[in-house]
Subunit: 238 residues, 6 copies
Amino acid sequence: MFRLALINPNTDEHHTEAMGGAARAALPDGCDVTAVNPNRGPTSIESAADSVVAAAEVAALVQALPDYDAYLIACFGDPGLDAARELTAAPVVGIGEAAYIAASLVAKRFGVITTLPRSIPALEEGIDAIGLRSRCAGIVPLNIPVAEQGSGHPDTTSAIVALGKRLAADNGADALILACGGTADVARAVEDEVGVPVCDGVSFGAGLAHSLWRSGLRTSKTSAYGAPEPIPYVGMQG
Amino acid sequence: MFRLALINPNTDEHHTEAMGGAARAALPDGCDVTAVNPNRGPTSIESAADSVVAAAEVAALVQALPDYDAYLIACFGDPGLDAARELTAAPVVGIGEAAYIAASLVAKRFGVITTLPRSIPALEEGIDAIGLRSRCAGIVPLNIPVAEQGSGHPDTTSAIVALGKRLAADNGADALILACGGTADVARAVEDEVGVPVCDGVSFGAGLAHSLWRSGLRTSKTSAYGAPEPIPYVGMQG
Amino acid sequence: MFRLALINPNTDEHHTEAMGGAARAALPDGCDVTAVNPNRGPTSIESAADSVVAAAEVAALVQALPDYDAYLIACFGDPGLDAARELTAAPVVGIGEAAYIAASLVAKRFGVITTLPRSIPALEEGIDAIGLRSRCAGIVPLNIPVAEQGSGHPDTTSAIVALGKRLAADNGADALILACGGTADVARAVEDEVGVPVCDGVSFGAGLAHSLWRSGLRTSKTSAYGAPEPIPYVGMQG
Amino acid sequence: MFRLALINPNTDEHHTEAMGGAARAALPDGCDVTAVNPNRGPTSIESAADSVVAAAEVAALVQALPDYDAYLIACFGDPGLDAARELTAAPVVGIGEAAYIAASLVAKRFGVITTLPRSIPALEEGIDAIGLRSRCAGIVPLNIPVAEQGSGHPDTTSAIVALGKRLAADNGADALILACGGTADVARAVEDEVGVPVCDGVSFGAGLAHSLWRSGLRTSKTSAYGAPEPIPYVGMQG
Amino acid sequence: MFRLALINPNTDEHHTEAMGGAARAALPDGCDVTAVNPNRGPTSIESAADSVVAAAEVAALVQALPDYDAYLIACFGDPGLDAARELTAAPVVGIGEAAYIAASLVAKRFGVITTLPRSIPALEEGIDAIGLRSRCAGIVPLNIPVAEQGSGHPDTTSAIVALGKRLAADNGADALILACGGTADVARAVEDEVGVPVCDGVSFGAGLAHSLWRSGLRTSKTSAYGAPEPIPYVGMQG
Amino acid sequence: MFRLALINPNTDEHHTEAMGGAARAALPDGCDVTAVNPNRGPTSIESAADSVVAAAEVAALVQALPDYDAYLIACFGDPGLDAARELTAAPVVGIGEAAYIAASLVAKRFGVITTLPRSIPALEEGIDAIGLRSRCAGIVPLNIPVAEQGSGHPDTTSAIVALGKRLAADNGADALILACGGTADVARAVEDEVGVPVCDGVSFGAGLAHSLWRSGLRTSKTSAYGAPEPIPYVGMQG
């Protein structure tokens, strides 16, 4: 039986639970998903300053939860991904990379909808790092704060749909990625109204993690992802 | 129940069956794999001239087998992949791209072992196209004809192991991809002796196809992968 | 005397003849051009599915016409180009690459006009592969079906001229490439009205092939373009 | 008077002091350097797992030390650099980027000597991110643990000199960067014996920070480096 | 005492003096700046034809002024930079590269305002060569001749401000570079009204040159920047 | 009748004549080649310092010889190419770009043999600028001064052959480019003994220039290559 640890890097437990459910739904019967989040740090991650705090917490959680078959880091910026891979021999997948890989398999050009303009450079850097810059048709900001979003807010959904239509018509996007906190309901609405696949990193990322495990693939321990050298640490509690 | 069509682009039925078995083993219980190959064309694919014949056959087979949940094109060069995606709304995965994606998830730098030096530029172009050139530590040729390879030939296995060790030690590869026709037995031997993951595109590609389907993702039909314009064809039989 | 085989990958004989004439006009006196097309396959090529059929036919035609001094593959997507180079020691040129090379020699930034939006990603991939992505100012679709185009249709010509003016004014294109089936008459009209060179791959490609031959350059046979390994083929007639 | 805060991301106070001295020596008379380090975290940084802990500490220190004219993050991997830039309007420089910029101004191709092979991919990613991959002649590992290095250990110095000579002779490096913990004495010995500039990020980075400040340049606060949104944090002490 | 030779590649002495003053103001007390220009060549540089004449003059001036601690080539296109580095062991900095480096340190995405559209490709090539293409948010032309510009012409300033606002709002630029001949007064006005740093290559370039010198870094003389081979020259006077 | 002006940027008249002959031999009967060189400047070009002097002379010669159908700049570094294109509406080709384009048409990976290691970075920059970095298998130095080379020196020829064999065997080069001053005799010997095409920029470049002219293509005059603005020049004689 496959046991996945989903780590939400922020401290919003409601979000942790929702993503745990999405991951569970994406896996074959009999798989087990444990969804956790740190007990310290930001309730959502909207800056590099938030991200460095969250990355350290992700690494600590991987060490605290050592016996899983795979790990899914469930924040679009994939904070702490390389560190997590050093700290376990199980496969580790980030939902950001999962969303981009999904898009690259079902479409030629993906568009990304994010929350705020300030996030665009970091998203572009992530897409560069994964090698898919030439596949990105554009990134546009929603300009609605996370706290006001959701499928219960028709305005948010219709704003996302409008941006999706623009990315499809003007930028040639034939797939969309919601990096703006939209829920599964929103994704479905966008898919229906824009007519292109909406690539969700949580469910596809859970599938990737399972597929790696099922194919017998584990994180390489011989070089960059080897266990860290035993450096002395000071001042750490626990 | 998930039904996968595995299309071997060459006409070697023995190889078709073996890959069908590997795909089946990689999928959850209850999934179905139909493994087919064209009845015309090369028995193996070792040149662009072989590949153009095979690509046309792959496209024809996708049209001839319309009702599957996903398709896996089971030749390392992924011949006919874009055409296949135009011809179905189901997800289509190539084993070449699957192997590279697997390697990018479990290691920082992959090495590739191919059969002949002549294939290296085409492999590099494929890696460029998928955006992973900076992750490739090197490509080395085995220089043993396909006909003489296999786990029954200890020399082949030991030659592959030796090349894998060289890629790890000299090029910093922390994962390997066998684009040289090696069997599952060879992969296991290499993994054991070199100590790095060997990424097999057939089993992980089957997993990718299943994960896309399970996440509700279908090939986008709005732009590049839309159904082809109804151009008149002449001289085609059947 | 230089003997060029121009291979039109589609089955439109009228188009074959027109391109044969353009190639002939671009070569020095005394050169000979044989213009052929397959007797099976699509009458025009507007998708990857069309292209894989055409590529296999191109390869077969090169083998069927072995004694020419050079070959020109006369379809903008250059289908079967690598295969053709394996199958002969004579130089082989594609009209797509020829058009891009011409533009790179007479201008800093070229714009491309294509027929349908769906072709844009494949054109971008071709430009990437030839290394000229940074020289491309933009690709815009004409959105008029091939069947309705031509110099006899003033609307098509004026639509192409309008797109050319937009590429020059808004995108900074100082050369244009018509990948939308326009004839020589259209090209002249665009050149006159937009005021920038229009780079035609058929006439310049014929010149490239002749220049290679005249300089004593033949396709390298030592590595990627070496004659294919003698793989057994099954089910092929003739 | 220019006041620089040098932040050593690791907890080795001896190293903090030494780097503070180097920065002071590189600045004009009358400048002030405060050198600090976190009181928790690794004593040296040799993995991504170490780095995520250190990055969070760097961000906290910038917030705790708000009134400086510029900040220098003094660890080769530049941990927390983007976060630090969000948290202040003063200029922030990393010693890794400083070393690469210095090399790009005095030479065509730099070579990098690092401690362990495992660090090479992360160094390559950093060089990619800064846009200087084509200027990098190679990265080679010293394979001597940090604890055993130093100018007091003649073997370390001679090993670094030998690697430097190899990078110059075989890879064409005409500048060197020591990312392997070497001291100023080692740098001088390498410069003398290899005959190429050795680019030190601490002294040049201090100069960069001063030059930005002196030119009136401050970190942009309008987009990616704007002050973080006021997200609620939980569980943080202090 | 640091002695900088600022070389204005054009023959406009008024501009030479103004840039000398800006460099002097950017350096610590006690530094000396000698500002010179050739006595032949174009009074401003607005084409490659102007630039090749100026580059030869820059090289001649470096040879004619051999005893400086560093050189600053004070024209945005950095004409003759590589030649100058061959002809001296002192550090040589160009104001174009200096402006781009400054922008990369204080912002994520810079916008460039140039004089004429014809200069955009050369600017893009310069940004490519320095590795910062992905950091460039856009380049827009002012379309006002140099002769009519200046802080004494309110129209020019307001046109530059308007373009800067457009680059910030539409392209996401969070820093600006004036490659359009604007003076220090204009830069200040743009900074105030657009709200982003305006990166001036003269003052920051002087700082870079000083920082290299202060860190003990000299131009590498072992490879590409080694003293030229003693080739015979004919027909040169003086 | 096609009239080509071949401009040798250095002042070696013997070399000018030899290249004029090679260009003439590569063109169809009835074409005319005028081969010229400046009367001031270096007798060969082996540094950036030589190159800036030569580039200014090339620009002056294009202006002094205005009535040709095309221009060929006959030095591997293509000095003054952009300036020349501004100064004429006729096509202008450089022999460096011609050699790379030829290689890209007959082979997958070219190797370059140059004279001295110091030239390698500039060659790599030229290959980058033309977009063919991924096609370059390697650049190796001959380390024999130009003055001692030639087909009359068996040692030089055999050294070039040996380097060519190494580039083919170890780097996978299937075409070679001699950027080391070798004559036509040497090229033939290398082609015979290494067994791969040797791409000569003079003869193929003449063919390129002729093909552009024959296809009616002229240098674009609307943007970057438009005639320079009429800037005042001072101190120029003649």
